[in-house]
Chain length 352, copies 2
DNA sequence: TACGCGACTGCAAACGGTTACATTCTGCTG
DNA sequence: CAGCAGAATGTAACCGTTTGCAGTCGCGTA
């Protein structure tokens, strides 16, 4: 039943002729251990191939050195890169990452209740693009959960977010600057159960840019592409089927833009003449098809979120009695990781 | 220092007026607990918002309910989907996943030594496309590590692999069937430090197919594309610069094929007339550009690997004294997840 | 009525570390 | 030489579960 266990700290202590306390101190590099003793202990540990049992250490210290990463999916272009950035940063700092996709509502339910239990499971949580209600967030905060959010903000927790209003605005403005008056948009899934806020903000930026140019918003010009290439293709077909299609198109992700591009191609049309298209993200393949886009930096974002969480963990660890500052510092949406990258799909062949 | 902890099993026991043992049994659904007692305990636990501390449970049982997933990267098309499939399956079975990219040699070193320690950290490991030597594998096996490999096989551990020779053969044969005699190949990184076996096998399949048709292999027709879109593009440029370029091209991943396609486009050439191209994977964007490909099923593969690992864990748990069958069952490369998907890039417009 | 047998329940010993506190051992200083 | 500070080490009490074993209790049976 019980699976065979490796050497314990006691074995090392016996072999090295010291107490377990000394072994613990020696192996963890704590002070007040004679150099010769430390060396001997290290040798013995090495020869016995001893490693401290993490579960035991966690139980004793209350620190797990584990962080949970929750994203809508783990295999999307954006999220997989976010995860890569976060995980790399965590590993560098001695933490391991538990990844946890939260897609359908059922999973979400379980996720939220699990989250309350998370304090014992992990040292902190990074929640990406899952709109957690202020109420839930508050509950988590009071349960003592350390968390950082990304892609959305709450009152309680620090957040790492790009200014998605700005993203939508810049993309739309780019089309406006090129003289387009009739601009359509392929958005995400409007009634998605997780309804993350990103699409809404980007849409607001789109609307805002139009308004700033005195252009009325035509709701029929918005089509949902579900954030997939195929969804983008179908949305584009609906748009091309319109009696009066737009001349410019803001697509909320490069993947959907690829789909839109292929629909355009299939009808023998080409950009930017027949339709100018701008996407979001700067997918590896965007330069290959010449897609204009708003470059995001999911990897850097992920790393930033991880960094923020680590300092949060450190702060709370060093001073439990510190002023219980009920709220994370005001986090403002950053434009730091947002760059307009114009390519053929909007400005045409640019030789010169 | 010590972070505040939540309610313990003792609190529940006191509140419910029973012993901790009973609480433990009641909450875990073990038999020999009176229905009324169980209900009462559950109520108390609920009201106290009690959850068993995983670290303590792990220490006591020796089971972590944790699985480590090691892949070269986590944000590639193939690997991210493999991970998604594996993680979903693990979560369904009450396990959590620690993901761990292993890219550069330095990471690899640390990874291998960490792996030896893994027995206490996790219940099992899934190692994807990292060529672990038989020697290392043996060491791991004797250390009692439970592992499943994917993309490569060892003597010791069960493996989940697709027949990559077959993949290369089928792709090349497809081009041969279409009448191509001069067939090039864009491969992965030949001298990659991790040198996983997949590219080698695919290349062997390519060579084998050519040989079977009595065609000599021209080494100059092989170019490395580093498994990236941009690498594929550059490799294609080198190929197009040749005095006598091939008429058919086998590209070892769809991502590289996209790059090749764009290089083709840039020169005003088109497929399949100027060059017939077949990729591997069936990326979401493959149908959009009409790329012929060999469809793989990374998600299903990941799920299969997870499943295999879970049964391995279960087996060893139920019978420690069972015949120490020193080797995993013979695992043969499967062709189960391999499908030829011909599209325009090789067979041209197919109306009819 | 005495007995035996399940079904329940409790006691207490692991599990393998960490760490506050006590103790021992130095080498110096006055 | 006594006294003492400080470094090095040991002792033992946790951390919060699980689980083998020993009771306890109720009840049908001889």
């Amino acid at each position: 039943m019980q699976r065979e266990r490796g050497p314990s700290i006691e074995d090392v202590a016996r072999e090295a002729g010291v107490s377990v306390a000394t072994v613990s101190r020696a192996l963890r590099g704590l002070p007040n251990v004679a150099a010769t003793t430390r060396a001997r202990v290290e040798d013995v540990a090495e020869s016995l191939n001893y490693r401290a049992d993490p579960s035991a250490a966690r139980l004793a210290t209350g620190q797990t050195k584990l962080v949970q990463l929750a994203t809508p999916t783990i295999d999307g272009w954006y999220f997989s890169r976010f995860l890569a950035g976060a995980i790399d940063h965590l590993l560098e700092n001695g933490y391991e990452a538990i990844t946890h996709p939260v897609e359908d509502p059922a999973t979400r339910e379980r996720f939220l209740s699990d989250l309350l239990e998370s304090k014992k499971r992990v040292d902190g949580v990074i929640v990406v693009d899952l709109n957690i209600s202020e109420e839930s967030a508050n509950k988590l905060w009071h349960a003592g959960i350390r968390a950082v959010t990304a892609g959305f903000a709450t009152q309680c927790f620090p957040a790492v977010i790009v200014d998605d209003y700005h993203v939508g605005f810049v993309a739309t403005q780019h089309l406006l600057d090129l003289g387009h008056k009739r601009i359509g948009v392929i958005s995400g899934e409007p009634n998605h159960p997780l309804a993350f806020s990103v699409p809404g903000l980007r849409l607001a930026g789109y609307t805002g840019a139009l308004a700033a140019s005195g252009i009325a918003v035509d709701p029929s010009l918005e089509q949902s592409g579900h954030f997939t290439a195929d969804g983008g293709r179908r949305a584009m077909e609906r748009i091309l089927d319109m009696k009066n299609p737009p001349t410019g198109l803001f697509v909320m992700s490069d993947e959907m833009a690829f789909g839109a591009w292929s629909a355009l191609n299939e009808r023998g049309l080409s950009w930017p003449e027949d339709m100018a298209i701008i996407g979001i993200g700067d997918h590896e393949l965007a330069p290959l098809v010449g897609l204009s886009t708003i470059r995001l930096a999911p990897r850097e974002l992920g790393a930033a979120a991880a960094e923020r969480l680590l300092t949060l963990i450190a702060e709370r660890a060093e001073s439990l009695t510190a002023k219980a500052n009920g709220a994370g510092e005001a986090t403002e949406a950053s434009q730091q990781w947002v760059t307009l990258v114009p390519r053929e799909s909007t400005i045409g062949e640019s030789d010169g």
